[in-house]
């Protein structure tokens, strides 16, 4: 029972990684850059959601809509300020530093204009666990058995829905196919009349909005703070690499693997070492599959 409970928490955590990993994939596909501030966009989503929902008392969906808006505007700004200049200059590392810099600014801004403390974010579904297979107490409440936090269920469902929606969008709509075309071959896509600049802009906005939604989703499970995104961003990056940067399905597999290995290690080995097994597997995996589980192997052409 307890292991099952751990698995569910692990899967929920893993879906958050998967969601942000998915965000990395989207911009990598269209622009071949990684947005290293994505973890901090997750934090931005968490903080904005907290302020609107908890502090100002907005309805949950209103707050969520505002978070999506903030995320997409943020993505557009990031692209214009940090990524486009270095793409134009064809600098090999510019975008790495620029996106890192945006991350630093975001985090510090949250600390200055909001708070340096940790806050509890109330789940819209309530914070007491749903109990299954437990014993009913005299007062009607349940105890023992399998306890599942409603927020964990929400995380899993919403994340899956987002991933599925984006994948469907890519496969079934004309604009989605344009995104795929740009990620396959920019120049040919341009020749086919696709506005690649717009596709890239769209992919950045989509990517950061997804990360921001991830922040609202994860906040009730962890806590809201200005630093909540730093480690999470790195883990999600690892997840997308495990799965292979080009693969949406891979992001989910990578995220789930990291989330579950983390929660099992924390329980059965030690909390301090919870990240290590996942990381070691990542290094070993890449030794045998240099571009991740489902990534495309680069073909050497001379």
């Amino acid at each position: 029972m307890q292991t099952l409970q751990l698995l569910i928490s692990g899967v929920a955590q893993g879906m958050i990684y998967a969601l942000v990993a998915f965000g990395y994939n989207i911009t990598f596909a269209t622009s071949k850059t990684l947005n290293f501030s994505l973890g901090n966009f997750l934090m931005l989503g968490g903080v904005v959601g907290f302020v609107l929902y908890m502090t100002w008392g907005w309805p949950f969906f209103g707050a969520l809509a505002a978070v999506v808006l903030v995320g997409s505007v943020g993505g557009a700004v990031l692209l214009k300020v940090a990524v486009e200049p270095s793409l134009k200059q064809r600098s090999a590392y510019g975008w790495i530093l620029a996106t890192l810099a945006v991350g630093i600014v975001l985090r510090n801004a949250a600390e200055v204009f909001w708070s340096t403390d940790d806050f509890k974010f109330r789940s819209p579904l309530g914070d007491s666990p749903w109990r299954f297979f437990g014993e009913r107490q005299a007062d009607g409440s349940m105890s023992g058995g399998l306890g599942v936090y409603p927020q964990e269920v929400l995380i899993i469902l919403v994340s899956l829905a987002i991933v599925a929606a984006v994948e469907l969008f890519k496969r079934r709509t004309v604009f989605g196919k344009a995104v795929v075309a740009v990620s396959e071959d920019k120049d040919t896509a341009s020749l086919m009349g696709i506005n690649q600049r717009f596709v890239i802009l769209f992919s950045f906005m989509l990517s950061t909005s997804i990360a921001c939604v991830g922040g609202v989703l994860v906040a009730p499970v962890t806590l809201v703070s200005a630093t909540m995104g730093t480690v999470l961003g790195v883990k999600a990056y690892s997840a997308s690499i495990i799965g292979g940067l080009e693969s949406g399905f891979g992001a989910v597999v990578g995220g789930l693997f990291l989330g579950v290995s983390e929660s099992l290690t924390a329980r059965f080995v030690s909390t301090g070492y919870k990240d290590v097994p996942g990381f070691v597997v990542l290094v070993l995996l890449l030794l045998f599959k240099p571009s991740g589980l489902f990534g495309k192997a680069a073909v050497r052409k001379v």
Binding site: L34, P85, S86, L97, A101, Y237, G272, F279, P290, R300
Partner: protein, 621 residues
């Protein structure tokens, strides 16, 4: 070139000679400024500069982004801390410090460097397999694993509490505080001296060659695995050394220093300062130490200002501070290469660049027997028998997709054939890797140009001379006479090769700035630098104008005259007709005809392969 040397130049060279004296200045600082805060900052810059220089080896020269150098740095710092700390200062019950020997600081640096180097060695293997964002994540994870370890292994590292060290002293002389500068500063100069020497030698060129085109580097006789792993080991050793010195900076180490953000900060420092420059490394280190201090007036906003400054600088100065200074300097006084041209011209006069290969054996320069190359279900080459007699030029022609380039790739060891045997001068090539084949005297050019874009034209040829260097890494690092002599000789030889192909005027231009036709000539010069016995030319005239084709034609004739055996892949029939002794024709991976150029040109099977079944013309082109 005027005979009259301007006096301004003399003065400039005198200043240049005296410039190194300025390097002593920082040592005076503790005497002049009696402010332990500022002197301490300088010591910190010095230690960090070593780390930035180590990062530069991997990021700037090999081209792999590492966001895990904090881990390697931590290994050095903790090795020194554990092996030198006194139990009296670390009295927690769980601490195992008392069980470790208490070594002198300098002795403890040895295992610090060794452990870090070993960690770098381990990191080198994933680096051989993955690249770009994949490798970057490996470095991050590598750093995080080390970070977790030092946090959690409380017995060894005291966990979050950290290890307190006894401040350094030599007899009665205090070497901590402001005096620590006397320890670290000379060390930094030594480290930068070594890094500069190594990176400005055939080692550094090998690193950069691998960065721009690993395939071309291998075809120049450079072992990618050896040099890439070496770069990681060297870089890690330096990071470990820097870590060792860091341990005594505050005489205290704690895990929090070595977090992920530390690696990020140093990547920023490196690119801020400017990659591939020891001056840039120092500037970058200074920036990460000084900038936050400058913004301390902004208190809480400090990091926001820092991040914004970063963004603005990236926008305006993408190549870093040193790049900006260089650009400004070049505008102020354009670099005058005339003197160097004249010197190389004189030194290389009469140099015989293509010594005719001695008659080592009577065997054919190249012999293929039943060569077959399959990619999945596709058979690119089937049952190919081919011979290039010694000193002869054999043409290999065929329509696009007929397996010509695949054959060359098999011959240079880039592909392992499914079947068949390959011999060069009677030697079985099968067990030889790409770089070993290059060293065995098989050189090639590439149909799709594979030049080392940011190296100069001269340096591109010098990469081809790589196998001729004998100096050890140690000799290179300390500029021993042999290393200097070899470098000077290689420059002259490379220049002579450039003159042979007619590119000497462009010797100091970047390869990326060459015109297309010139780039094709450079490919040939680089291949000739290997002193090949067998030269594989993969469509050397592709995309050239008819005038340029004439020049290449003449060049190949001159190469042939020195006795080099050549396999020429080409589409231009007039060229094939003029140069080749014999021609083989491929179609769909099969040899369909062979003979003298004239016979081939009239062979109906060949005409059909090129033009289809209607036999309309006798011209094949």
């Amino acid at each position: 070139m005027s005979a009259l040397v301007p006096s301004g130049k003399q003065r400039a060279s005198l200043v240049g000679r005296l410039l190194p004296l300025l390097l002593v200045l920082p040592l005076l600082l503790p005497r002049v400024v009696d402010n332990s805060y500022y002197v301490g900052m300088l010591s910190r810059i010095v230690v960090y500069a070593m780390l930035v220089a180590s990062l530069d080896l991997v990021v700037g020269y090999i081209g792999d982004v590492s966001i895990g150098h904090a881990g390697l740095f931590a290994i050095g710092a903790y090795t020194v801390a554990v092996l030198t700390a006194s139990p009296a200062l670390n009295t927690d019950a769980y601490s195992t410090i008392q069980h470790w020997p208490q070594l002198p600081f300098l002795v403890a640096l040895v295992p610090a460097v060794a452990f870090a180097a070993f960690a770098g060695f381990l990191l080198g293997f994933p680096a051989l397999r993955s690249s770009g964002p994949y490798l970057a994540v490996i470095t991050i994870v590598y750093g995080l694993i080390i970070y977790t370890f030092i946090n959690e292994q409380e017995g060894l590292t005291n966990g979050t509490k950290g290890i307190t060290l006894t401040p350094l002293h030599l007899g009665g002389l205090k070497l901590s505080g402001i005096n620590y500068l006397y320890v670290v500063y000379p060390m930094l100069l030594l480290v930068l001296f070594i890094v500069h020497n190594v990176t400005h030698s055939f080692w550094g060129r090998a690193f950069e060659a691998i960065k721009y085109s690993a395939v071309a580097a291998e075809c120049c006789g450079i072992s990618r695995s050896y040099f890439k792993v070496s770069a990681f080991v060297l870089s890690a050793a330096l990071a470990g050394l820097a870590g060792g010195f860091f341990a005594q900076l505050d005489s205290y180490v704690a895990p929090n220093t070595f977090a992920y953000s530390f690696s990020v900060e140093f990547l920023i420092a490196l690119i801020f300062g400017g990659v591939r420059s020891v001056a840039g490394n120092v500037v970058g280190a200074a920036l990460v130490v000084v900038l936050p201090d400058l913004f301390s007036g902004f208190a809480d906003y400090r990091l926001m200002v820092y991040g914004s400054v970063l963004l603005v600088m990236l926008y305006f100065v993408p190549e870093g501070v040193v790049g900006l200074v260089r650009r400004g300097w070049a505008r102020l006084r354009p670099h005058d290469n005339a003197a160097e041209h004249a010197r190389l011209e004189r030194a290389s006069a009469g140099l015989d660049v293509l010594a005719s290969p001695h008659a080592t054996s009577a065997e054919a320069a190249l012999k293929l027997e039943g060569l077959e190359m399959k990619f999945g279900g596709l058979v690119a080459v089937r049952g190919l028998d081919l011979e290039v007699p010694r000193g002869a030029v054999r043409g290999l022609i065929g329509p696009n997709g007929s397996g010509k380039s695949t054959t060359v790739n098999v011959l240079t060891g880039l592909y392992t054939p499914t079947h068949g045997r390959q011999y060069s001068f009677g030697r079985d090539l099968a067990p030889l890797k790409t770089y070993q084949r290059a060293r065995a005297g098989i050189a090639r050019t590439f149909q799709n140009l594979q030049l080392f874009a940011d190296l100069t034209v001269l340096e591109n040829v010098m990469v081809g001379l790589h196998p001729s260097f004998r100096a050890s890494l140690f000799e290179v690092a300390f500029r021993f006479p042999r290393a200097r002599r070899e470098e000077a000789e290689a420059r002259v030889r490379a220049y002579a090769l450039l003159r042979f192909v007619g590119l000497e005027q462009a010797a100091f231009d970047k390869a990326r700035n060459l015109a297309y036709g010139q780039a094709r000539h450079l490919e040939i010069a680089r291949a000739l630098a290997l002193s090949p016995k067998l030269l594989l030319l993969d469509e050397p005239a592709a995309g050239l104008t008819s005038g340029e084709i004439q020049t290449i034609n003449g060049l190949i004739v001159r190469i042939k005259a020195t006795g080099v055996s050549i396999l020429l892949i080409e589409h231009h029939m007039d060229m094939v007709m003029a140069i080749c002794d014999d021609v083989s024709v491929l179609d769909f991976g099969k040899k369909i005809a062979e003979g003298t150029p004239r016979r081939i040109q009239e062979d109906p099977v060949v005409v059909e392969a090129y033009l289809g079944t209607h036999k309309t013309s006798s011209v094949v082109a």
